[in-house]
Symmetry: C2
Subunit: 737 residues, 2 copies
């Protein structure tokens, strides 16, 4: 025991480990030394094993090799570095509430992972992989004892593949990432107004007329299910009904409450086309479809959507109105409740338990029904009061691009009826290229909220570990970081994108609320602009905020601030140049340099014709010139403030006040992007006038008061949009989409 | 005609286009306007079509979509944007000397690609894809007329998959990149001392004992051949013999000239194990193997290596010496010549034409034999004098990491017997993760040397276009840019790698000559250090060199110089920090900020035990601290020089002389890396004292005199290693590896 020091234990509430784990385990004790990871790294099993476990061990070897850059010798004869002991067979397909606990012991000579189930082993292997990092003599896993198990049994990610089509590769790499942070439910939003994305053999016009050819075959669906199962993830399909169904009607207009024809919806929002709940043929059809899909998906839960029903078609239909009167329905809600009860019978008939969004809550629902709450904690409480189990999605809407700390502070609350939570990635403003960067790494912080004890709530710790996980997710195939540079390169049209990178590093992309009115977006508008490359949350700015706190004591902090502010101050000319065409005799041109080249170079131009190259080649960069102009101004203020601090001069009070005002102006969104770069400069100004902390002009950086959930939310609230309430901000409505 | 302006035509020798094409076409004329690329982009064919062409068009659609970020609607009904006309069937498998010409015409409304063969169409499609870039209103292809055909019929890349194993994915993505720059020969170096990498069904112990399990199955080989064929690339296998054969002997020791047993070689160099050329059983065996492999590979050419035979085993064998005396062989060369003649008969028996390295040149070789020249232009001339066709590899050894301009200045020379050239990627110092960045983008410049007219030789133009192509290669799956950041992230162990990126951007990795004695490298040493992430040639430094030339006239140039030098001057603290462990209360720690966090955070430590976290977590970063120290010094000199220039002050002559000397010192390699950052600062000093241009202290940047091939070589020579001759430098020997 003398050789131990306690890094972290829940009982003590202490989380100060340099362990880059996310989610944090329930209990972890680090001792000195570590297990070296080299080319002889090998895993062996004792106890129960199966194809899931064997596949997981094979994946681990490949991942360790990629993560460390060390080639693995598969034919090594050394004893195993990691011994895996699985105690019970467990379920082959992951099950709600199954035992996911594991225990991991790593010493300087070997590691041992014990679990009751294969699923528990899977969770432990992810922990082991996350622990690998550079040590004193190369890569290693620190000596550690971990006991771990999840807080909630339902930890999900919903992916909307309808509004923007997501190919198999996107689904699979996100399943890998989900497994890495111990999520266990993939909620597949397969149909909506903009696309029906799964093959039906019984009703083939669903995908033929409703998907532009972009749908998953049933073989591919089986592949996804197996892929997820191997990673301990359940797959729950959603067929949203009776609203959000335009794409169904492109093939089967007779299902609708008004005559067709219908075509796939290209715009965003809530639309009128709605199923006719009064015709028996509707239920016959759904019986067929639900039967087909229930057989395809092994999970016992089946999601029927049920949200956001626009009742215009119902109100305009004489027959539907007659039906409603006949059944003495008070309003459209009653009509939808009738529909839900009918659908639930079908779901049950085919052996499944129904899941639906808030709106399905109504009289006479089966007790086993699960409510997915997207409209607020209140609706979840209501469901619980009526005895229904629920899953929280309110506060976890990724398409809003909120800071991770906002989601992190949102808790599903413990309670018998609360199964857990699900983050939702609605896809109006994401493409296969950008979707990873809108889910990750924020999703990792949410996954910690779902897995780790409630007391794990330190925001600084969360951010440090989240960014580490973000980088480690590169090794399992996510493209959130790789696509960042590639997308900026694309805008630069073959020239260096360095000025755009400087700009992007200091920027944060607006979410759905900031984009929906910015231009006329449809599903045909390419998401290939600067805003699409930019991250939801700037890593650089968070680091600079930390630098400001360390400015007196840490030479690296001051150095980074000065270098960064200088780069900002000098940014404008470079961005301007990228907004212009490559000129034959300018920088970035083919002949280059202006200093002449050898032999015969030259461009003949007919001066009398319009020169297309001078019209402005970089339309997508041109909108960034004002943004660069603003960042340059922020950089200059930062440098000036830094000078005051380093030279220990007193800044004039009116200068500080003026600059604070100026920063407010410079923070206004341009090109659907906000300059996060103002934040560290605000903190610097606060250092120049410490008493100003209380006057509201300074937002939180590393101040202690920032880290409580309430303060975090309040901070975000005031920083991001001063005129709405907390509840309004977390109210994640698709209505205005 | 009035609406045209001539951008470039060979006749006029003018290359000043902003066209980002590589290799440059034989003839290109640009007119105003361009063809918009949007989601309705579609390709159609007229004339002859086949599965190769159809597959190519499908690939193009995917690539255009990735390259632009525009989703493609596959079910569009608009007329085709690009019409492809193939005139003849041509060969299904690409053939040496086939017609690869094409003509491309793009207007504002449509594009038309014409070619005689499918292979010609493939070349033209790559040109079309390269031309897509951001235009005034979005992505477009400029209006253009192109007539194109290759200079040489044999344009290759040799990949050594023996010294480091290269999985299928590496081979396939490099075939894609080869196709993008119109290369047409993939030379697959399948066996060497360190591994026999292909399945033999006849002699299975070759792969079983000779590959550590890392070999291509015959099914995979067929897949590679088909993949290459679809892209107009021939696949030529090499089985190096009679030397470089240790891995064969692990399974079949009886083939060797000395008794075994043998194991796979793990070190680099030339080794003694050599086939016994005197036993008839050797030829019986080779008859079997060559027959099996000749049937597997459809290409008529078959490479038997033949290089670098160490005759120690021969000299120590009484029976071999007796055989030599009996046959009146003067020396070991005669013995090898005998071996070659015997092997050639076997190659011919199985329907193939023999290819071999320089050393096979000897009496009585068949006239059709092709000599691959790696030892110099002289050996190629000798082969030509004896009537043999040859392929130049001398001067194209990628493992030396020479600047692209050096390879670019190396010309295969026209002549009847010169088929073309091949770049060689020997794999002692590359892994699957780093190999792309050692082949690309340099390979693109070499490909231009092989394809474009000899007169295409402007170095500035080459670099600008090469870097554009480097970025566009991201969209076809190469990892040379993506892995750069990921590998730096790995070194930072989850923390921000920004300081390492600043350092890496200013650095250039040493090639084989700088590495072989730097540490004890074997095939088991991981290539995951800073030097492995760093590029062979710094893009940033090249840009800064251009900035110095533009400093008076271009605000962006001065801005970039100042921002960059500031980042360099401030780099040291950040790198130092990464070399240390993440501290619980320091920057980068979990608790972070030093400003306290909410509730109960804290670390309990037993002060009496050794704290492993303080021993230095970043062993791989620690070696970079001196490098960062040097870069900071370079940055300070740069800032000072910039001040002199911008304030129009005169720098003291002795200050300039002192700094020049200091730069020489700062350029000395550290951690197998050279700081390229000295080069722009040297140019700045030259601006302060223009008369110093002639005194040898200033190396070339954008000066006109630098661009002739001779000057380029001479420059590289003096800059890189002052004490060797040009011939010595281009002498690419594996002897010392």
């Amino acid at each position: 025991m003398a050789r131990w020091f306690l890094i972290m234990t829940l009982l003590a509430g202490a989380y100060a480990a340099p362990l880059q784990l996310m989610p944090l385990p329930r209990k972890a004790v680090v001792s000195s030394g570590g297990l070296a990871i080299d080319s002889s790294f090998r895993v062996a099993t004792s106890g129960y094993s199966d194809f899931r476990l064997e596949a997981a061990l094979k994946r681990l070897a490949g991942r360790v090799s990629r993560q460390t850059g060390i080639p693995m010798l598969t034919n090594t004869v050394k004893p195993a570095s990691l011994l895996v002991e699985c105690r019970e067979r467990g379920n082959e397909y992951p099950t709600l509430g199954e035992d996911e606990s594991y225990q991991l012991d790593v010493s300087t000579t070997s590691a041992r992972l014990q679990a009751h189930s294969v699923t528990g082993v899977l969770r432990g292997l992810e922990t082991f992989a996350q622990l690998i990092g550079p040590g004193p003599e190369g890569f290693e896993v620190p000596s550690i004892h971990i006991e771990d198990q999840p807080r909630f049994p339902w930890r999900g990610l919903m992916l909307d593949v309808s509004r923007h089509w997501m190919p198999m590769a996107v689904v699979e790499r996100n399943l890998d990432a989900m497994a890495a942070v111990k999520l266990n439910v993939f909620h597949w939003h397969l149909s909506d107004d903009q696309g029906f994305r799964i093959e039906s053999k019984r009703y083939p016009k669903l995908q033929q007329n409703g998907s532009d050819g972009n749908f998953y075959t049933q073989a591919e669906v089986r592949q996804v299910i197996a892929y997820a199962r191997d990673r301990g993830i359940r797959v729950i399909p959603e067929f949203d009904m009776p609203g959000h169904t335009t794409a169904w009607f492109a093939g089967y207009p007779e299902l609708a409450s008004a005559p067709g024809p219908y075509t796939i919806e290209r715009k965003w929002g809530i639309f009128e086309p709605t199923m006719d709940p009064t015709r028996e043929e509707t239920y016959t059809y759904l019986d067929g479809l639900i039967g087909e899909m229930a057989a395809l998906f092994p999970d016992p839960y089946f999601h029927i959507g049920g949200d956001e029903v626009d009742d215009t078609q119902w109100k305009h239909s004489a027959s539907i109105q007659a039906f409603a009167r006949e059944h003495q329905f008070a309003d459209s809600h009653d009509l939808q409740a009738y529909f839900n009860r009918r659908v639930e019978k079908l779901v049950k008939k085919h052996g499944k338990i129904m899941v639906g969004w808030d709106e399905i809550l109504g009289p006479h629902l089966a007790a086993e029904t699960v409510i997915q709450s997207w409209r607020g904690q209140a609706s979840m409480a209501e469901a619980a009061a009526q005895g229904y189990r629920s899953v929280l999605s309110f506060g976890y809407y990724l398409d809003h691009l909120y800071p991770a700390r906002v989601h992190y502070a949102n808790d599903p609350m413990d309670g018998k009826a609360v199964l857990g939570g699900e983050a939702c990635m609605w896809s109006e403003y994401v493409s296969p290229e950008t979707v990873d960067s809108r889910i990750w790494p924020t999703m990792a912080a949410i996954a910690e909220r779902f897995w780790s004890p409630r007391e794990v709530a330190d925001v600084e710790s969360m951010y440090t570990r989240m960014e580490a996980v973000s980088r480690s997710l590169e090794w399992i195939g996510l493209e959130h970081r790789a696509n960042y540079g590639a997308m900026l390169d694309r805008l630069a049209g073959g020239r260096s994108s360095e000025p755009l990178r400087v700009l992007a590093d200091a920027s944060e992309a607006l979410g759905i609320e900031g984009r929906r009115d910015a231009r006329h977006y449809t599903s045909l508008v390419a998401l290939n602009r600067f805003v699409d490359a930019v991250r939801p949350e700037s890593e650089l700015v968070r680091r600079l905020e930390g630098d400001v706190a360390g400015i007196g004591s840490d030479p690296a902090a001051a150095a980074e601030l000065r270098a960064t502010f200088t780069a900002w101050a000098e940014i404008e000319a470079g961005v301007r140049q990228l907004a212009e065409p490559p000129l034959p005799n300018g920088r970035g041109s083919v002949t280059g340099g202006g200093s002449g080249t050898n032999g015969g170079s030259g461009t003949k131009r007919d001066g009398s014709v319009p020169n297309r190259d001078r019209e402005g080649a970089g339309v997508m960069v041109a909108e960034l010139v004002p943004l660069a102009h603003n960042l340059a101004a922020i950089g200059r203020i930062g440098l000036r403030a830094l000078d005051y601090i380093e030279k220990r001069e007193t800044a004039p009070a009116n200068w500080i006040a003026d600059q604070s005002q100026e920063l407010d102006r410079l923070e206004q969104p341009v090109a659907e992007v906000r300059l996060a770069g103002v934040r560290p400069v605000r903190l610097l100004l606060a250092q120049l006038r410490p008493q100003s902390l209380a006057n509201g002009s300074v937002r939180c950086g590393n101040e202690p008061l920032c880290n409580s959930p309430a303060t975090v939310l309040n901070w975000t609230l005031t920083a991001a949009r001063p005129n709405i309430t907390l509840e309004q901000m977390l109210w994640v409505s698709r209505a205005g989409k």
